[in-house]
Subunit: 611 residues, 2 copies
C-alpha cells in the first residue's frame, strides 16, 4: 500500500469539539470524519482497524459456537410492540414511518428480531441451545452525542442472543461468553474491568459489564481495596454499616425516649434540619415518594393498594400494575439508588413523584414525609433504617418532625431492602474492605434475560416428553466503535496513536527519506520482502520532508517503522533504521535482514496478544 | 462445521409468496428468512455466501485502486437538500425525523455523503483522481417489494464514487470499473449482459448497466441479432425506418394533395381513427402534450416560452425552468420513450399533461392535437415524423382531423429528436440488423455523473496554476443481495441450488450414512484432512435417513459431496462415494485419496472462475 494511493488526510489541528484523545487522534490521523453530530465516516485507515476489531470479535464468537446471521437494520414496529419495548424504550428509539404509513424501528438492539426469527423455527428441545449473533449497524438517537465514536448515534454492535432449555445451559453459555469477552479485549490490547451490573426489572439472574476506566465515563464503578469486588453503582451493594456512630450503637430502643414531635418551622431539607437540630444527617430518616411504572411485584397485601389491579400490557407479557406510588425511607446521609429500587419493585421505571402526588399521598407538604403513621402507600425501608433507634423524621404535618423515632417500636415498613447508593468509603459486601470509585465506559455487556422476551413473544419448544416450554434467553453485546476508540484511549502519547499489533491498520511503515534513486529501490525491495512475509506494510512514497513523514507515522500509530536513507545505504553493508512506535531509540539493521527482523517482531507481538 | 452445530432450517414446502427460483430456494435451503415485507434476515448458510460475494467485489475494487470507507447509513437531510435530491427523489426515500425534529435520510445511495466528505478534504489536483467505495446497508422504500431479496427494501450495495480533474481521467476509471465489474460477475459465475443505459437528465457522457436475463426483470433490453448492440429500452436507439411503407416512400411532398380537414366525429384514439379511415396507424401523427419539471434546456427561442424564467432550485445547482409544457409529435404506430424525452429536454421529470392543460394549451378537446398550427407550446418532432409526407393528424378542433399533412410543407417543429421507444423488430442503430427484446434485472450500473453533484455541492480543487475547478465524478453500484439471488437463478435445478465454487457456503459436504462407529471415524478423518487442505467442509452429522441428507445437500447446493457408508468401507480398500452437485453419477474413490481428490477439484473450479 502506497501512501500516495490511499486517502489519509492527516491534520495538524485538533477539531474544536474533540475533548478526548481518541476523538482527537481519530480525526488527526485521518481515520475518521464527521457527517453530522454523532454520525461519522470511517476513512480507509480507520476502516482497516475497525475491521480488525470486528474480525477478532467474529473469531471469538465462532469459537464458542455462536452463529453469525444478518437481519435487516430496519425492522417492523410490530415486533417491538409484541415485546412491549415500542412503548418502553423512550426517545432514543429512532422510529420511522414508511410511505404506506407503517411504523418501523431503526434497530438499537435486536432482541425482538432474533426472538422472532427463532420463534418461527423452534419446535424441539433438540434444537437447543442455540446462539446467534450479528455484527451490524445500530442506531440510538442520543440526545447529546459526543466524544466522537465513543458516544455516537449510529454505531456497529456485535449483539448475540442465546436460547436454552434450562438455566444451567444458559449459565454455561453465559460463562463461555464471559471468557470469550475477556479474550476479545485481551487480543485488542485493552485493560477491561468486568463488573457486576444491574440485571434489570425482570430480575435476570446475571449480568456483567466490561468497563474501561475513563475520565468521561458515564458509569460510576465501585472497587474494593482489599479483594476483587467490582460493581457498577447501579448494582453495587455494601456491608451493612448500621451502627456508624458509637452513640447510636450504644443506645438500645429500650433506652430511647418516647417518640415526640418537635416544631421545625419552614425546615424542609436534610441540610436545614441538620443546621436546625445541630446534628448529623445520619440521625435522620429521609422519606421520599416515588412513582413506579409497570410494577410486577405482588401488591395484594400492601397498604393502600387494595384497589389496584394488574394489567397485561401486551399479550404474553407478565401482568403489572401500570402506576403505583411508594414511600422509601433511608438514612439521611444516603441516597436512594433508583436502579436498585426499580429492581426491587420489578418496575420498568421509577422516578420521584410530583409534589402534588406527595401532598395527596402523605397528607402533608413536601419535606415532612416520614414512615411513622404513613398508611396510604407501601413504605420501603432501606436496610440501614432498621438499625435506627433514635432518629428524627417528618411527622406528616407541616413544620413538624418526630424525634426519638425507633424502627420496630414506632414504625415498620412493608418491605425491607437494600436500595442505597453505595459510594467510596463504604464497605465491600464480600470482605468489608474499603470501596473506592472510578468512572468507566461500558464496552460490553453480557446478560441473562430469562423469559423477558421469550415469554411475551411466545417462544416455545417441546421437551422429550412432548411438553411445551418457554426457553430462557441471554444477550451479549459489544460496541465495535467504542472498543476501537478505547484502544486509542489506552494506547497513545502526545504524538499520536500507539496501536497494538492486532489492531494496527498496517503493521510496518517504510519511510524512504526521499523516494528516488537507490533509496526508492531499497524501499520498494523492503516492502516487497515484507509483503512476501505476510506483513501489512505502508510505504510513505510522498514527496514530503522526513519530519512530516515521521510525524504522520507517529500520529497514525503504525507499530514498526523502517527508515531508508541515503547515508545508511552507503558502504558495504547497507542498513535500515528500525524503531517501534513506543520506543525512543531506533537501531540500524542490515537491509538484507530488515524484512526478517520486522516480520519476526510482528509475529511475536501478534502471538503475545492473541496467545 | 457440523450440521448439528449450525442453524440450517431447511424446508420441504415452498413459501406461498415465492414465485421465482432464488426466492424459493433461499428460503427452502435455510439461507434466508423474512422479517417483514421486503425485509429479510440472512441465516448462517446464506450469510456465508453473501460474504463471499462481498469479498469478490471488495477484491476487485481494491485491485483498481478504489478505497473502502464506511460512512453512516443515516445521513443528515441537509446534504440531500444541497444536491436537490431531498425534493427530487420521491417516495422511495426513507425520511426520518430525530428526537430533536431534525430531518435525516436512511441512505438509498450515497452521492451526497461521499461528495461532502471529499469536499472537506479536497484542495489540490494532486489528490485526484480519487475513488472511494463502501459496501453498506441501503434502504429504498419500494412500494411493492417482491421476489425475495431480488427486490427488497433494505439491501447491501457496493457503491463507489470517483473524483477527477479531467474527463479523460474519469473515462479511464470508468473503463477500469467496467472491466472490474466484468471480472466480478465472471468470478460469481454469472452471465451478465452489459447494456447501454440512460445517463439521466444531466447528460452524463456514459452509462452502462450490467443485466441478467430474467422473466421477472423490470428492464426491457434490446439486442441486435447481427452484432453486439445491447441497450436498455430507456436508452435504445434504432436505425431510421422513415419509409416503412413503399407507397409513402414513393410519394414526395410535391405529389401530396393539399392539406385538408376531414370530419371525424367522436373519433379520438389512434385505433378509432384507423378504423374510421380504414388505414394503418403509421399514417398518423400522434401528438401528445407533456408536462416537464426542472428543464435545463434553453427555451428562450421556443414558442410560447418567452414568459418563462429559469430558477436555481438550490445554491450551486444549474438554473432550470420549474414547470413547462411540450407537445411531442410521433408516428402513430410508435410510443414516446419518456426517459429519452427527459434526457432530450434535460428535465428531471416528464409526464403526460392533465386533460385540462391539454385543452388550455391546444385550444381543443383531448384527442385532436396536432403539429399543424400549434403555436402556444414548443413542438418536439420525433425523427420519424420528418419523413411523413402524407399524414393524418389532429386539427386542433373538436371532431376534425387534417389529412395530407406533410412535414416541411404544412408544419415544422421546434426541435427534432429521437424519442421513440425502440421495440423488437426495429433495426439496430449500429448495423441495421433486427433487434429483439429480453427482460432483465439490473445487477450493477456504472455511470459518468459529470458535474451533477460536484457543482451544486461546490466541490473544488486548485490546478497547477492555482486556478479553481470543479471535479467531474463517476458513480458505480452493485447490489450484493441481487447478485446472490441472480447466481441462484442461473445455477439451480429442480432439486435445489448448484453453487459456483466461489460462492458456495462451503465447498464439500461429507455425509456419513450413519454417524457412528467406523463410518463416523472415517467421516471425521476425511473432514479433518479436507480442512487441513484448506477446504471448507460441512459434516452432516445428523441422525437422519440418508435420503433426507442427500436431499438437503442438493437443496443447499454444496458443489462436492462425499458419502461414507459401511458397505464401501468394508474390504481392503475402503472407499468414499464422490459426486459433484451438477453430476448425475457418483464415483468411488479410495478413502485415502478422497481428500486430495476433492481438494484438487475445489482448486480447479476456483481457478476456472477466478482466473
Amino acid at each position: 500500500m502506497k501512501f500516495s494511493q490511499t486517502f489519509i488526510p492527516t491534520l495538524r489541528e485538533v477539531p474544536a469539539d474533540a475533548v478526548i484523545a481518541s476523538h482527537r487522534l481519530m480525526f488527526r490521523s485521518g481515520m475518521l470524519r464527521k457527517l453530522a453530530n454523532g454520525l461519522f465516516a470511517y476513512l480507509p485507515l480507520g476502516l482497516l482497524s475497525f475491521r480488525k476489531v470486528e474480525q477478532i470479535i467474529r473469531e471469538e464468537m465462532n469459537a464458542i459456537g455462536s452463529l453469525e446471521i444478518k437481519p435487516s437494520v430496519v425492522v417492523p414496529a410490530e415486533l417491538w410492540k409484541e415485546s412491549g419495548r415500542w412503548d418502553a424504550y423512550g426517545d432514543a428509539l429512532l422510529r420511522v414511518k414508511n410511505r404506506l404509513g407503517a411504523d418501523f424501528v431503526v434497530s438499537p438492539t435486536a432482541e425482538e428480531a432474533f426472538t422472532s426469527l427463532v420463534r418461527d423455527e423452534l419446535s424441539s428441545y433438540k434444537q437447543l441451545p442455540l446462539s446467534l449473533y450479528q455484527i451490524n449497524t445500530k442506531y440510538r438517537d442520543e440526545i447529546r452525542p459526543r466524544y466522537g465514536v465513543m458516544r455516537g448515534r449510529e454505531f456497529v454492535m456485535k449483539d448475540a442472543y442465546s436460547f436454552h432449555a434450562s438455566e444451567a445451559s444458559l449459565d454455561e453459555h453465559y460463562q463461555a461468553m464471559g471468557r470469550a469477552y475477556r479474550r476479545i479485549f485481551k487480543r485488542c490490547g485493552l485493560s477491561v474491568i468486568p463488573v457486576q451490573a444491574d440485571s434489570g426489572a425482570m430480575g435476570g439472574s446475571g449480568s456483567e459489564e466490561f468497563m474501561v476506566e475513563s475520565e468521561i465515563g458515564d458509569n460510576t464503578l465501585l472497587f474494593c481495596k482489599n479483594c476483587d469486588y467490582a460493581a457498577n453503582v447501579e448494582k453495587a451493594g455494601c456491608k451493612p454499616d448500621f451502627s456508624p456512630r458509637p452513640e447510636l450503637a450504644r443506645s438500645a430502643t429500650a433506652g430511647t425516649p418516647p417518640l415526640s414531635k418537635i416544631s421545625t418551622p419552614g425546615v424542609k431539607t436534610i441540610d436545614e434540619l441538620c443546621a436546625f437540630l445541630k446534628t448529623g444527617a445520619d440521625s435522620f430518616i429521609k422519606t421520599l415518594v416515588y412513582r413506579a411504572v409497570n410494577v410486577e411485584l405482588d401488591l395484594k397485601a400492601a397498604p393502600g393498594c387494595s384497589g389496584l389491579k394488574k394489567e397485561r400490557p401486551a399479550p404474553g407479557a407478565p401482568e403489572v400494575y401500570p402506576e403505583t406510588f411508594f414511600a422509601v425511607a433511608i438514612r439521611g446521609d444516603l441516597d436512594v439508588n433508583e436502579t436498585k429500587l426499580a429492581a426491587t419493585l420489578k418496575a420498568s421505571e421509577v422516578a420521584l413523584a410530583a409534589d402534588s402526588d406527595v401532598e395527596r399521598l402523605t397528607g402533608s407538604p413536601v419535606g415532612f414525609a416520614g414512615p411513622v403513621g404513613l398508611g396510604q402507600i407501601p413504605v420501603l425501608i432501606d436496610h440501614t433504617v432498621t438499625a435506627m433507634t433514635d432518629a428524627v423524621t417528618g411527622a406528616l404535618e407541616a413544620d413538624l418532625h418526630y424525634q426519638h423515632a425507633a424502627y420496630g417500636r414506632d414504625f415498620e415498613g412493608w418491605l425491607i431492602a437494600d436500595i442505597r447508593t453505595v459510594k467510596a468509603g463504604d464497605r465491600c459486601p464480600l470482605c468489608g474492605g474499603e470501596l473506592y470509585e472510578k468512572k468507566g465506559n461500558e464496552l460490553g455487556h453480557i446478560f441473562k434475560l430469562g423469559l423477558k422476551y421469550s415469554k411475551p413473544m411466545k417462544l416455545s419448544y417441546l421437551d422429550e416428553a412432548g411438553k411445551s416450554h418457554t426457553p430462557v434467553m441471554g444477550c451479549y453485546g459489544i460496541g465495535v466503535d467504542r472498543v476501537l476508540a478505547s484502544i486509542i484511549e489506552e494506547h497513545h502519547d502526545d504524538n499520536g496513536i500507539i496501536w497494538p499489533m492486532t489492531i494496527a491498520p498496517c503493521q510496518v511503515i517504510v519511510i524512504p527519506v526521499k523516494y528516488e534513486g537507490a533509496v526508492k529501490d531499497a524501499a520498494d525491495t523492503l516492502c516487497a520482502e515484507l509483503e512476501k512475509e505476510g506483513v501489512e506494510v505502508l510505504l510513505d512514497d510522498r514527496n514530503e520532508r522526513p519530519g512530516v513523514k515521521f510525524n504522520d507515522a507517529d500520529l497514525m500509530g503504525i507499530p514498526l517503522r523502517a527508515v531508508i536513507g541515503e547515508r545508511n545505504l552507503a558502504g558495504d553493508s547497507p542498513r535500515a533504521e528500525i524503531k517501534a512506535r513506543g520506543e525512543k531509540e531506533s537501531r540500524l539493521v542490515e537491509l538484507s535482514r530488515a524484512a526478517g527482523d520486522l516480520a519476526a517482531r510482528v509475529k511475536k507481538e501478534l502471538e503475545k496478544l492473541n496467545g
